[in-house]
């Protein structure tokens, strides 16, 4: 009898204390969000928001959707409260981050309905912009994970993106877009080679080596911008890659224009994620890369060249970041401005961690950041009571919240100490 009561009063919970603590924190976050949605959006909305999900020129037109802000807020609050309760009681196991992303997405939707209360708002435009803005973050994140999977922390992504952006502008202005993309990638690769030489050969602290690259690139590009580009505007007038639709796919309502009517950088991002996922986990190169990152000495003793693997991967990571950097100029505005990456490389690192060093996770996280980024742009147009400075903070705020509080402790896949061959 005593046994039975013991079992009943203490239900078996397979979660460790750390997981349990995180579950509790997350559950409280859900509940707070539920209350916020209820109070601010539920009672703050009077009319309906009209979401536009087709563009005038689309082949298949879908009518606009009109959403009552208050009703949506009540539903979202209820779902959040349910998620919070479930998180507290049982947790979501390996799907915790996915559920979290869905929860935050709902909050964002409810927020939108409130912000666009009584007006019309283009959902297509918002999501299209979110995807675009996720591009440099994804390239940064994938560059970071290519390096970290092989045991090198790449803090220099920001610098590589910036170097790629600068090169893209100049080469694009003189030799054209294709040459610009190649040159931008090569500049990223060169910076990565510097990182590899410093960290692998000379065993410089990886963080310091990365910071050196960031400062070096920032200083150099800012100097040349003020000294030469200002005086020669022709050098800073690159072509912009135009969006082109993929036949058939681009005609699907909502999904088509958002995913398949974009420029070449977005398609390159899809390819990058698919290729890195496949190669990391299905090929010999991937297995060896991960072995070198996890336990270099084990790789060494089976005849794998640890140094060469590290060099190769870091350089590939640099090529990826450099190419991604070109997005800022030839993929977006066509001209270079001082420090125009504005911390996107660091947000890329955050996306890599949020995505647990997996390309698919990284792109998902980048989309969250891209959405936050896109929201602040689009909401600036709507007349919301929130000051624009606060809106501009959104992507960074999301980064802090996600990395500091909600991700939980992620275990990096690497042994980051410099490998010394015996």
């Amino acid at each position: 009898m005593g046994n039975v009561t013991a079992v009943m009063t203490r239900p078996t919970d397979s979660r460790s204390p750390a997981e349990l603590r995180r579950s509790r924190v997350l559950a409280i976050v859900y509940l707070v969000l539920a209350l916020l949605v209820l109070w601010a959006f539920g009672f703050g909305s009077e009319g309906s928001a009209t979401f536009v999900i087709s563009r005038p020129g689309d082949a298949i037109r879908v009518g606009d959707i009109s959403v009552p802000g208050a009703g949506l807020a009540f539903v979202v609050a209820a779902v959040l409260a349910f998620l919070g309760a479930r998180q507290w009681m049982a947790g979501f196991g390996s799907k915790t981050n996915l559920v979290l992303a869905i929860g935050l997405g709902l909050v964002a939707l409810s927020f939108l309905a409130w912000a666009a209360d009584g007006a019309s708002f283009s959902l297509v435009g918002l999501l299209q912009e979110a995807i675009k803005r996720a591009v440099p973050i994804t390239f940064g994140a994938v560059s970071g994970l290519l390096c970290e999977r092989t045991g090198i922390i790449n803090i220099g992504i920001e610098g590589m993106l910036l170097g790629g952006a600068f090169t893209g502008a100049i080469v694009g202005s003189t030799l054209g877009a294709t040459a610009a993309m190649i040159a931008a990638a090569l500049v990223g690769g060169l910076l990565a080679l510097l990182l590899a030489v410093l960290t692998v050969k000379y065993r410089v602290d990886q963080i310091i080596a990365g910071v050196v690259i960031n400062i070096f690139v920032l200083g150099l590009t800012s100097f040349y911008t003020s000294q030469f580009l200002v005086a020669n505007p022709a050098l800073n007038n690159a072509p912009i890659m135009r969006a082109f639709g993929i036949p058939l796919l681009a005609d699907i309502p909502l999904i088509g224009p958002v995913l398949f009517d974009q420029n070449i950088f977005v398609y390159a991002m899809y390819l990058l994620v698919a290729i890195t996922t496949f190669t990391l986990f299905r090929t010999r190169w991937g297995l060896r890369t991960r072995a070198v990152g996890e336990k270099p000495r084990a790789a060494d003793t089976v005849g794998i060249n640890v140094y060469r693997t590290k060099y190769r991967n870091v350089i590939i990571g640099g090529l990826v970041a450099g190419f991604g950097g070109a997005y800022f100029t030839i993929g977006s505005v066509g001209r270079f401005d001082e420090n125009m990456t504005a911390g996107r490389g660091f947000i890329g690192l955050a996306a890599m961690i949020f995505g647990r060093w997996h390309p698919v996770g990284a792109v998902s996280a980048a989309l969250v950041f891209g959405l936050a980024d896109s929201l602040q742009v689009k909401l600036g147009i709507l007349d919301t009571p929130i000051p624009s400075e606060f809106l501009a903070m959104a992507p960074y705020l999301v980064t802090i919240v996600v990395v500091a509080g909600l991700v939980g402790r992620s275990r990096p896949p690497s042994d980051y100490t410099a490998y010394v061959k015996e």
Partner: protein
């Protein structure tokens, strides 16, 4: 296949690690390479495996001189190595680890993990090495991990297998199992080089014995006629007493009383579960058990390094349940921690700094905010002398000493003052025979001087030899209490494995 090492010489700055070593081995035999830590066994094998290059000498296989630029070349020549610290990627599966470096492929660069799994299964069936190819390494016990290492070597078609201290991490039962595997490998025509410093094992398994001392082969022996003491003498270079000599104990009053002690591990689960025992003056109590059954957490709780979740700890009648390490130190407790490099020493500090690590804050080693280095050095030199620490000076970093001498530094620091209770965890792990003898003598003399002594060791022989009373820990509890003269290794082995 016949492998010969001819005149291998390797110098590191300040030492000759291998001095014109000649060895030969053929397939179908077991050669034991015996030597103390630092005798040059591992250096020699790393040369054979292509990790180091020799300064002089040749590696000859079937009459042909080899030139190994890296492990890849050695593997290709038919040499396989099972390292002391396993070379497995913890998050990979068994199959992934086995094929790493020689991966089967579907087509250009694309892995064929199904083929890898089949290969692992084929080898594990052939050699009775039961293991699940889909298991993740970090979730497997060390005994199984070792099997994976063996499969890995066999998968590369090794003819000569080198085992570097293979039994150091195994339980007595796992050692028996391991010897069966080695014997099977020999029957199947593999050549085995078995590196160890454990004399008993050498006599049990070797076909031939070569003894290495200070980098040179000092002799060979035939296991049929060799004796443990004869081999020990060859290894150390002087007669060694392998027995622990101690008079019967006459325990006095209790110095350490533990009642109903409960301690959590890092994951927050119960590691020590309601343990009660006493250690009395003039008595050595040994705790036996397989690694990871709560011994580490028990010792950490007793020495103030880990929070106590329940129960009480009394030292000389005073409550020290929640005391911090310095309070416990001041209560007259000496602590030899289980991992000398992680928690016993600060490796980058000099010997002098390490010697005063527990007492730097008081006279005579400091006054106010100023350290008295002269007094510290005098103390260091006194301890180096008294405890026979082999070092050129008291001012070199602790990392420069051999394992045995590092351990002596800790023992000297802890035993060098008047104490009432000694808590020593794995006091001779990875320590050479000469130092083991010395450390055992000092532990017994602490007891005879009136201290209560608690020894925690996973080496059953050590617990049997030193203890006046033996407690066996399993799954956080004390499952047996025996006197050494009334029990056997086999009986304790059963308790250690959880039988009751």
């Amino acid at each position: 296949m016949k492998l010969e090492l001819k005149g291998i010489t390797k110098r590191f700055p300040g030492v000759v690690a291998n001095d014109h070593v000649d060895l030969e081995i053929e397939t179908g035999e077991i050669l034991c390479l015996l030597g103390e830590n630092g005798a040059g066994k591992s250096t020699l094998m790393n040369i054979l495996y292509g990790l180091y290059s020799a300064d002089e000498g040749d590696i000859v296989i079937d009459g042909k001189v080899q030139n190994f630029a890296g492990p890849g070349d050695a593997i290709a020549a038919g040499i396989g190595m099972v390292h002391q610290h396993f070379m497995l990627v913890p998050v990979f599966t068994v199959a992934e680890n086995v094929v790493l470096g020689v991966e089967p492929m579907r087509s250009a660069g694309i892995l064929d993990l199904d083929e890898a799994r089949r290969d692992v299964e084929a080898i594990s069936n052939q050699y009775n090495l039961a293991v699940d190819p889909n298991a993740v390494i970090e979730e497997l016990p060390v005994g199984i991990q070792q099997r994976v290492e063996i499969i890995k070597v066999l998968f590369r078609d090794a003819e000569i297998l080198v085992f570097d201290e293979p039994t150091a991490v195994l339980t007595p039962q796992e050692v028996d199992e391991f010897f069966k595997i080695v014997d099977k490998l020999k029957q199947d025509g593999k050549g085995i080089i078995f590196i160890t410093h454990k004399l008993k094992e050498v006599l049990e398994i070797a076909d031939r014995i070569a003894v290495l001392r200070r980098g040179a082969v000092v002799g060979t022996a035939d296991p049929a006629t060799a004796t443990e003491s004869g081999l020990a003498e060859m290894m150390v270079g002087r007669p060694v007493d392998l027995m622990v000599h101690k008079a019967p104990s006459h325990p006095g009053e209790a110095v350490l009383s533990v009642s109903d002690l409960t301690v959590m591990n890092i994951q927050g689960r119960k590691a020590v579960d309601g343990v009660s025992f006493e250690v009395r003056r003039n008595e050595i109590v040994g705790i036996a058990g397989v690694q990871g059954n709560g011994q580490t957490e028990l010792v950490e709780a007793l020495t103030g390094l880990r929070e106590v979740a329940g129960g009480t700890v009394l030292i000389q009648g005073e409550d020290h349940t929640d005391s911090n390490p310095r309070q416990i130190h001041n209560a007259g407790v000496a602590h030899v921690p289980e991992d000398r490099q992680r928690s016993g020493l600060i490796l980058g500090f000099t010997l002098t700094e390490n010697f005063v690590l527990d007492s730097y804050h008081a006279v005579p080693f400091s006054e106010g905010i100023k350290m008295d280095w002269k007094a510290s050095r005098e103390e260091a030199n006194r301890l180096i002398e008294e405890f026979d620490v082999r070092t050129p000076s008291s001012e070199i970093p602790a990392s420069n000493l051999s394992g045995g001498n590092q351990q002596k530094v800790i023992v000297a620091r802890e035993f060098g003052r008047q104490v009432d209770l000694v808590i020593a965890s794995q006091p001779t792990r990875g320590v050479d025979v000469g130092s083991i003898e010395f450390i055992h003598e000092r532990i017994v003399s602490e007891r005879d001087a009136g201290s209560a002594v608690l020894i925690v060791s996973t080496e059953l022989d050590e617990v049997m030899a030193l203890s006046d009373r033996i407690l066996v820990m399993f799954d956080g509890r004390i499952v047996a209490e025996k006197r050494p003269e009334e029990t056997t290794n086999a009986e304790l082995g059963l308790y250690m494995a959880g039988a009751s």
